[in-house]
């Protein structure tokens, strides 16, 4: 038996590996977008794909996001599985008409005759010192669009496993990649990549009894850190990583909240009209009589994403999470 080399990989590398393996397994998988070919993408996620599979399978497109998504729709209509890269969150907006009016509706429009197995990769979120338009958290738009799956990994292993699942899905998947976790590392065995994860299952990242932090993507590490810090205050926090915003895993989330009786939703996206409202509302609908306090939200402010020099004030951090936990009406318990 040979010993396997377990070495650290970044999330960006894991995503690249997922693309590579999907392309190797299935000749209908095509990667396309701005700078994805020769350059390997501005985050280098697609590095090496054009070389390995040729420019017809990993294509530098003209610079036009509606055109990228629109032609990908046509390619999927013909039976290909396009994986589209949007260069940054805010640069996906020009493609929203194609997304809302076609990508999300084609299967339904044709009663299932014309599914669109399309993956749209969107680097999202802040914390990387990016200037305007490079740090948006746009998940609320995707969540409000029926017909899309919305998936976001928070770990290196999930980056691989969920992206493979997204590409294999017969439905369109918006795959949100937390930019500031691109360089996060985890060790894995490159000869045996992590398992393909089913889309739609949340996972408890940390068990606890006092309250549940419900989170995803870039906020997971922050929540885990907050949970550690909370111990000093006597709170034993459970942390749920949603991984998939659509479909939403009510079962896992509700089970946790019923168990703890308190919950805080944590995300970078703005609060008003953001994912937290939906999550808080559905948790409350399902767990009302278990709740000791209203489900609270710790989110970005309801403002355009701030300039780099102010972003630390905007992003949900450990203190803000602990403040929210403190407001969970603990006195009511005694």
């Amino acid at each position: 038996m040979t010993t396997v080399a377990v070495k650290p990989a970044t999330m960006a590398q894991a995503l690249g590996r997922a693309l590579r393996d999907a392309m190797a397994d299935d000749p209908t998988v095509h990667v396309m977008g701005e700078d994805v070919g020769t350059l390997g993408g501005v985050f280098r996620v697609t590095d090496g794909l054009a070389k390995e599979f040729g420019e017809d399978r990993c294509t530098d497109t003209p610079l036009a996001e509606a055109g990228i998504l629109g032609t990908a729709v046509g390619m999927a209509m013909y039976g290909l599985r396009p994986v589209v890269e949007m260069q940054f969150d805010a640069f996906a907006y020009p493609s929203f008409e194609q997304l809302i009016s076609h990508v999300s509706r084609m299967r339904n429009r044709t009663r299932g005759a014309m599914p669109l197995p399309l993956t749209i990769r969107v680097p999202y979120g802040g914390g990387i010192g990016g200037v305007e338009h490079h740090s948006d958290s746009s998940e609320a738009y995707y969540m409000a669009t029926p017909g899309l799956h919305v998936v976001t990994p928070a770990t290196v292993a999930d980056a691989y496993g969920l992206l493979r699942a997204a590409i294999a899905s017969d439905d369109p998947v918006v795959f949100l990649e937390p930019k500031r976790l691109y360089w996060s590392k985890d060790s894995w065995n490159p000869d045996e990549p992590p398992a393909v994860e089913p889309v739609g299952r949340a996972v408890v990242r940390r068990s606890g009894r006092s309250a549940t932090l419900i989170t995803y993507g870039p906020s997971l590490p922050v929540c885990l850190e907050a949970a550690e810090a909370a111990q000093a205050e006597g709170w034993d926090l459970e942390v749920v990583d949603l991984r998939s915003l659509v479909p939403f895993d009510d079962e896992t989330v509700s089970a946790s909240v019923r168990h703890t009786g308190r919950a805080v939703v944590v995300h970078e996206s703005g609060s008003f009209g953001g994912p937290g409202g939906e999550i808080a509302a559905r948790v409350t609908e399902r767990c009302f009589h278990y709740l000791e306090a209203p489900v609270l939200r710790v989110a970005g402010f309801d403002i355009p994403y701030p300039p780099p020099m102010l972003e630390r004030h905007h992003l949900p951090g450990v203190d803000r999470i602990l403040d929210a936990v403190a407001r969970l009406q603990w006195e009511a318990e005694n």
């Binding site: 095509h30 017809d56 497109t61 003209p62 036009a64 509606a66 055109g67 998504l69 629109g70 032609t71 990908a72 729709v73 046509g74 390619m75 999927a76 209509m77 013909y78 039976g79 290909l80 396009p82 020009p94 008409e97 194609q98 009016s101 076609h102 509706r105 084609m106 299967r107 339904n108 429009r109 044709t110 009663r111 299932g112 005759a113 014309m114 599914p115 029926p146 017909g147 799956h149 899905s169 017969d170 439905d171 739609g200 659509v246 479909p247 939403f248 009510d250 079962e251």
Partner: protein, 383 residues
């Protein structure tokens, strides 16, 4: 590098060789729309083709009339008629091989019907029934597209995919004059030219986007002139001359099939009816303009040519009309039957497998419908 470091070594040279990426001259459309009927070119047209076109035009006109009548009877939610544009609709359908794809807009049900689609299936959307009445893959007709110009990138992507797969398939996409102003038109044509995708764009310039005349839509010499900006040929054709449209589109399709890349064709035509049955065209145009175009009617033009040349007589005309009436009668009859829709279909195709959220909503609706039914039954029983 600052200018200081730069100096000394510097010898001015002409700019690195610049040359046009394409020769613009052959891309530019002719000065006038190409015509066949009533010109010398008509002599070379295939009589069989002309007769076939004639039959389809007559049937198409009857189809438009019948569909419009169905709106008055409440059997169609809305109908955007292509009366006056039948030459474009029919030619677009006839130039394609079975393996090719057609990308229609909401106005182009006739093109789909001329391609062989059952008119009832073509009208499913406009009837208020399910969004698409046919399997696009079976017929190689994309769903009727309502958001303007958004079907164009689909056509490009599909043609490109077919080409990559080594399939000998051409896509033909229809769009209106108004639709050319949308960003998607631009992006689609650019992708098509860069990829040299086997796709043909047919702009039916019918003079209006609802109420907005072409002069408020563009200042370009012609819509066909836009082609040069993408590096593809632009062709201008009389859109009421079925023989001319057929010829120009056939050439473009052959060019695409041979690997020559995309073509933009502008067919100059006119929308004789209002935008839809819900529109009031008296608000934005006068009768005289409509009358001038009636005198250049696609059917009249072709009929004149055929009768002049002895290719069509009263019997032939009657036969064409009778076939058209048959189609109309059948359509009328079948459209008068209420379609049966299953409310549960609302949830069936949102995803490959419904989410738990949708299953909950489905159960809710089913319970409501069951309750309704029980209510009706008990009411029935009580009487």
């Amino acid at each position: 590098m600052t200018v200081m470091e730069q100096r000394g070594a510097y010898k001015p040279t002409p700019p690195p060789a610049w040359q046009p990426r394409t020769d613009p001259a052959p891309l530019l459309p002719d000065a006038l729309p190409y015509r066949v009927l009533g010109t010398d070119a008509a002599a070379e047209a295939d009589p069989g083709l002309l007769r076939r076109l004639y039959g389809e035009l007559v049937r198409g006109r009857r189809y438009n009339a019948q569909a419009t009548a169905l709106t008055k009877q409440g059997r169609l939610a809305v109908y955007p008629s292509s009366t006056g544009q039948e030459a474009c609709q029919v030619a677009a359908a006839l130039v394609l091989e079975e393996r090719d794809w057609l990308f229609p807009s909401y106005r182009d049900t006739l093109a789909a019907v001329a391609r062989g689609l059952d008119p009832v299936q073509a009208l499913t959307l406009l009837r208020g029934d399910w969004h698409t009445g046919y399997d696009p893959r079976e017929h190689r007709i994309a769903p009727l597209c309502t958001p303007l110009a958004t079907q164009l990138p689909h056509a490009v992507g599909l043609a490109h995919a077919a080409h990559l797969q080594g399939d000998d398939v051409v896509a033909l996409a229809l769009v209106g004059d108004g639709g050319t102003s949308e960003g998607d038109f631009h992006e689609a044509l650019n992708f098509a030219a860069v990829w040299q995708a086997p796709v043909v764009f047919l702009v039916q310039n019918n003079g209006f986007a609802i109420s907005v005349p072409l002069a408020k839509q563009t200042a370009a010499p012609s819509l066909a002139h836009k082609a040069v900006g993408y590096g593809m040929p632009g062709r201008l054709v009389d859109g009421n001359d079925a023989a001319a449209v057929h010829e120009v589109l056939s050439e473009a399709v052959a060019h695409a099939r041979a690997g020559g890349g995309p073509t933009l064709v502008e067919a100059v035509t006119y929308r004789i009816d209002a935008h839809t049955n819900a529109d009031d065209d008296k608000r934005y145009r006068g009768d005289s303009e409509v009358e001038a175009w009636r005198a250049h009617d696609p059917i009249g033009l072709l009929e004149h040519e055929l009768t002049e040349r002895g290719l069509l007589d009263e019997d032939g005309m009657r036969a064409a009309r009778e076939k058209a009436e048959e189609m109309a009668a059948d359509l009328r009859e079948r459209m008068n039957r209420d379609p049966e829709l299953d409310p549960m279909d609302l949830f069936a195709h949102v995803y490959a497998r419904p989410t738990t959220q949708l299953l909950e909503q489905e159960a809710q609706l089913r319970a409501e419908l069951d309750a309704e039914e029980r209510h009706h039954e008990s009411e029935g029983a009580a009487r």
